[in-house]
Subunit: 343 residues, 2 copies
Amino acid sequence: MKAKITLKDIAKELEVSTSTVSKALNDSNEISIELREKIKAFADFYHYRPNMTALKLRNKKTMIIGVIIPEIVHHFFSEIISGIEKMANGRNYNVMVCVSSESYEKEKLNLAMLSNGSVDGVLVSIAKETLELGNYDHFKELEDYNIPLVLFDRVSNEVNCDKIVVDDEGAGYKATNYLMDIGRKRICILSTPDHVNVGALRSLGYKKAIEERGGEVDDRLLFRVNDKTDLYLQIQTYLNSLEVWPDAIIGVNEIFAAIAMKVAKEKKYKIPEDVAIIGFTDGLISQFSTPAMSTIVQHGFMMGEQATAMLLDRIQKKEPDMNYDYKVISTDLKIRESTEKIE
Amino acid sequence: MKAKITLKDIAKELEVSTSTVSKALNDSNEISIELREKIKAFADFYHYRPNMTALKLRNKKTMIIGVIIPEIVHHFFSEIISGIEKMANGRNYNVMVCVSSESYEKEKLNLAMLSNGSVDGVLVSIAKETLELGNYDHFKELEDYNIPLVLFDRVSNEVNCDKIVVDDEGAGYKATNYLMDIGRKRICILSTPDHVNVGALRSLGYKKAIEERGGEVDDRLLFRVNDKTDLYLQIQTYLNSLEVWPDAIIGVNEIFAAIAMKVAKEKKYKIPEDVAIIGFTDGLISQFSTPAMSTIVQHGFMMGEQATAMLLDRIQKKEPDMNYDYKVISTDLKIRESTEKIE
DNA sequence: TGTCAACACGAAACCGTTTTCGTAAGGTTT
DNA sequence: AAACCTTACGAAAACGGTTTCGTGTTGACA
């Protein structure tokens, strides 16, 4: 239970000044080689390690970035955190993780906590509730304190900062086009309420693809799933309310697609013969479902890495720069059994 | 781009001393009410917020706990992090997350980084490589610096500290017993190499259950999946190498079970009629597979919460206490379609 | 032998707080 | 009127480092 040893302790023990010890340990040639070695040996012996907090105070840098994420138990988000952690670590930063649980209040609290100087920069994916409320005042605080911010995935153009998003519109477009390519006519999309930009954009791409081929968008085939009540029931009820079942379904996330698959199986529809299904987020469900699910892969890990790179670049920039980046990560369509072409 | 305002700035502006400002803002009655109000108003106007780093230095507490976890993109672990974050936040602590990626070296590095005074305590789930190597010297450093440590899920009794684990043996026992209850005779278990304690313990429970009923453990039915090569291939090859297929399979994690299900379906075995399957970790795969998978639910969230509570309790304990806790969290068996009883 | 640079180290300021202690001014006791 | 308490504030130390600057001792050069 030895208390941690400080510079002062070493100085006293060796009867030199703390400045000498500091310089010696930092290999300054202001100190003679013999003394340097002696001090180093002593420090080593007692496992001296500089107090990080003291360093942070002096350097005015914490070497920590904060992350506020709507939830962690979520394949896409956990991939992002993974990417963040890797990039941050590679550049000698640490990561402080906060969860908003999709709540505006928690997001605000977290932001306040992080903006008090605990971190050098913040990465945020906006909570659904915040998006719904449309209130982004809590982000101003960061600006006041001059703490760099990067929004990822769930962004808002009411906040001035760097942003990085998945090419959601392109992904919706890509998925829809592919389904039409394999001959599907009644393509249904299970989306989110419009304030969740990712859902809205994916729907937009969906519409665009259909219209581009001269088709007409049937609004009854676009269902906005409300995530406040039972998902299964909503989707089941919706699908069965259609006079004619779709021959293809796009779920804007893994779960919607998995539920659609389950409902289809219950109705004894064959997948992909009767109905093709595509999901988003290439998580475990997609890989291990039967049939294996075709998905839009969103490269969450890469997004985490790049968001962090953007943030660190901005942190390390000396003078503030009002030109904010907007980066779009394109998606890939991973075709598996749930959409195999009908010949 | 205003620089953050400090106590000193306020003091200078108001022509009082910094101590007066500090006291006023902390509502000390050493300062007259009028001056107090004046200073508070001023501070408020300029959005004064105390510099956390300075406070940390003075108080010798960072209010941060470090977490080293083998991976994040993993249902069980992300649940744990979620629980950690919640409990920590509720007790005014922040969470720094580090990923070992199952690597001994990264774990060591992370530990060294955290033990330099950045955090008040550390939560670790040991990397597989470390377990395999059996080298736990890097944990000594924490002891040297007197930084509390709690090991969770993947623990080692070579490290002296509080520990919290899932009742893995009981879980294996419970699953096996249940399968025998519904009449299964050839129960196979897909486990991990023995150095991964969770796998070893689950296998132990499996054996115990069988022996308790006077059965004999058939070693051919216990397969240790090596996670360094293709999982699917290994499990497929193993299962098909058996002269007689099992009528029940226990996968010690979600993925092993999902793969087993997939292999069984390919062989046109009916689930659960021909073969019942039970997995661990009640994640998305289990919920959305067809048939829905029976699982052992491990309460990861709760484990995260409790591990954090143990850690914080120890941090807040004034005098060191060599009596370490060992807490076991019991599991539940969630029965779904993959094991429904044959009547 | 006086001047000056190089060497090797210490003193002190600094980062931004809190907190202990000291003290001047005024009021209350006796 | 002397002694003592409050009240209301400031000075300074402390947390644990880094860094600038100053300075005493050498040795070299003129």
